[in-house]
């Protein structure tokens, strides 16, 4: 097959999508442009800043470094998929309470990284949290309140992704 476009079928935040996409389109662009999920941001497009972080089959990845076609058959979670309807999860609330964001541009990537990190390391030390977010750049906060927000969340019940809405 040498078409410039491929069909992809994938699940994002519990919802199924099917679309034809140009093979050179990155996953980040696909989410933002085709699916209107603009919460995932682009800060560098070369894998350094982490603003584009999403969960790909449960793993935190840089979506600017994946092609959309690679997500065929995958189960993705973006920042829009963290809250249960209007109810923010404990991590999102902790970010608000701890003033862990100022301009908000790095925030979705930070949240997804933090979510994945806490799945892996449910009871982290401060040093571990610091290292856990070291692949995400923030230019506003100096990181301290983000670390506090994640630590605070780790002391509570484990985070879960929302259940699918019925109807």
């Amino acid at each position: 097959m040498t078409s410039a476009d491929r069909n992809v079928k994938l699940t994002v935040n519990g919802k199924e999508y099917e679309s034809s996409v140009e093979v050179r389109k990155t996953l980040a662009d696909f989410l933002r442009d085709e699916l209107d999920l603009t919460g995932t941001h682009l800060g560098c497009e070369h894998g350094v800043c982490g603003a584009c972080t999403i969960l790909f089959n449960g793993d935190a990845v840089r979506s600017c470094l994946m092609l959309a076609v690679q997500a065929d058959g995958a189960d993705l979670t973006t920042v829009e998929g963290l809250a249960q309807g209007d109810d923010l999860n404990a991590l999102q609330l902790a970010f608000q309470e701890n003033h862990a964001l100022q301009c908000g541009f790095c925030t979705p990537g930070m949240l997804m990284t933090a979510f994945a990190f806490l799945q892996d390391t449910p009871d982290p030390t401060e040093e571990q949290v610091k290292e856990g977010i070291s692949g995400n750049i923030c230019r506003c906060t100096g990181y301290a309140p983000i670390i506090q927000a994640i630590l605070q969340t780790s002391k509570g019940p484990a985070l879960v992704l929302p259940t699918k809405d019925e109807g």
Binding site: M1, T2, A4, R6, V23, R24, T26, D29, E45, H46, G47, G50, T53, F56, D59, A60, V61, R62, C64, L65, M66, L67, V69, Q70, T113, A116, F117, D120, E131, G132, S134, G135
Partner: protein, 294 residues
């Protein structure tokens, strides 16, 4: 920064992939973890006509014990799997120790062992470890399979002995646990960055503090990882003390012939290379089993 056009294939078997590589030769680039290739595609620094995405090929993602006590690692094994592997920790602890220095965990979630080794960045950790361990690389093509020793694999920056039509499918690393001491260290601007200069040292000692054999590999200091044989020879058969370590450090500096770039000068790499090599030797000796420094 959006990629230029390319043809895309996602073969679902190794045979299919090898046929594609045979057909397209130099026009094709292999997409594995994407952590090195995608930035280059996004920046249009790489302009392949064809991208062969090998992520759908089953059977290339494994960490298997080999009869000699080492490990065979499938090329598509994610770096995170290596990081978490009990078998790696047990058999090749220096590899386990190096993993957290590779980028950040999000990169390691996608990045593969084979991808990093084929990309052959002179400042990368996996090529250096592979080289330091005298690893073997299995290269498969449509008509053939050959095994190369690491010392014959890394040629120059971003260039390996992989021929057009070939795919790295397996990396074989020997046991470096019992009787081996190790040290691993790099100097970076920030944690997770590529090394400005790095060292991997492995020692075998006898009971009386005498070095039986040493292997000192430097990375980030040349076009590919380098062994400092003269330093290794200086250690072999000797009782290791501060003076000897000082001499060895000097020898390493003398042997190095690095380039300058915007992160570090040749002079810096030369001298600090000696310092770091010494530190890895000290770590190897002092902790008994080995350890790394920050």
């Amino acid at each position: 920064m959006k990629p230029a056009k390319f043809e895309y294939f996602a073969p679902t078997s190794l045979a299919e992939a090898l046929e594609l590589l045979e057909e397209h030769g130099d026009d094709a680039k292999v997409l594995a973890g994407g952590q090195s290739l995608m930035p280059m595609l996004n920046m249009r620094l790489a302009l392949p006509e064809v991208v062969v995405d090998i992520n759908r090929i089953p059977g290339l993602d494994y960490i298997s014990p080999t009869p000699d006590g080492g490990l065979a690692i499938g090329a598509l094994t994610r770096q995170r799997s290596v990081e978490r592997s009990d078998a790696v920790l047990e058999r090749i602890p220096v590899l386990a120790a190096a993993m957290p220095s590779i980028g950040h965990f999000q990169i390691r979630n996608r990045g593969t062992v084979g991808g990093s080794i084929s990309h052959a960045d002179p400042a990368a950790e996996l090529p250096a470890i592979c080289f330091a361990l005298d690893g073997e690389l299995v290269l498969s093509s449509a008509s053939n399979q050959r095994v190369l020793k690491a010392e014959n694999f890394f040629m120059s920056p971003l260039t390996t002995a992989i021929e057009p039509g070939e795919l790295l499918t397996e990396i074989r690393l020997p046991d470096r646990s019992q009787g081996w001491r190790w040290g691993f260290q790099e100097v970076c601007r920030r944690q997770g960055d590529f090394a400005m200069v790095g060292a991997v040292s492995l020692l075998q000692m006898d009971g009386g503090g005498v070095c039986r054999s040493a292997c000192i590999t430097m990375f980030g200091v040349a076009g590919a990882p380098v062994r400092i044989r003269r330093a290794e020879e200086a250690l072999a058969g000797e009782r290791i003390d501060d003076n000897l370590l000082g001499d060895v450090s000097k020898i390493v500096s003398e042997e190095l012939d690095p380039d300058s770039d915007i992160h570090a000068s040749a002079a810096y790499r030369k001298e600090v290379g000696g310092v770091i090599a010494r530190r890895t030797l000290e770590a190897a000796i002092n902790s008994g089993k080995g350890g790394d420094g920050a």
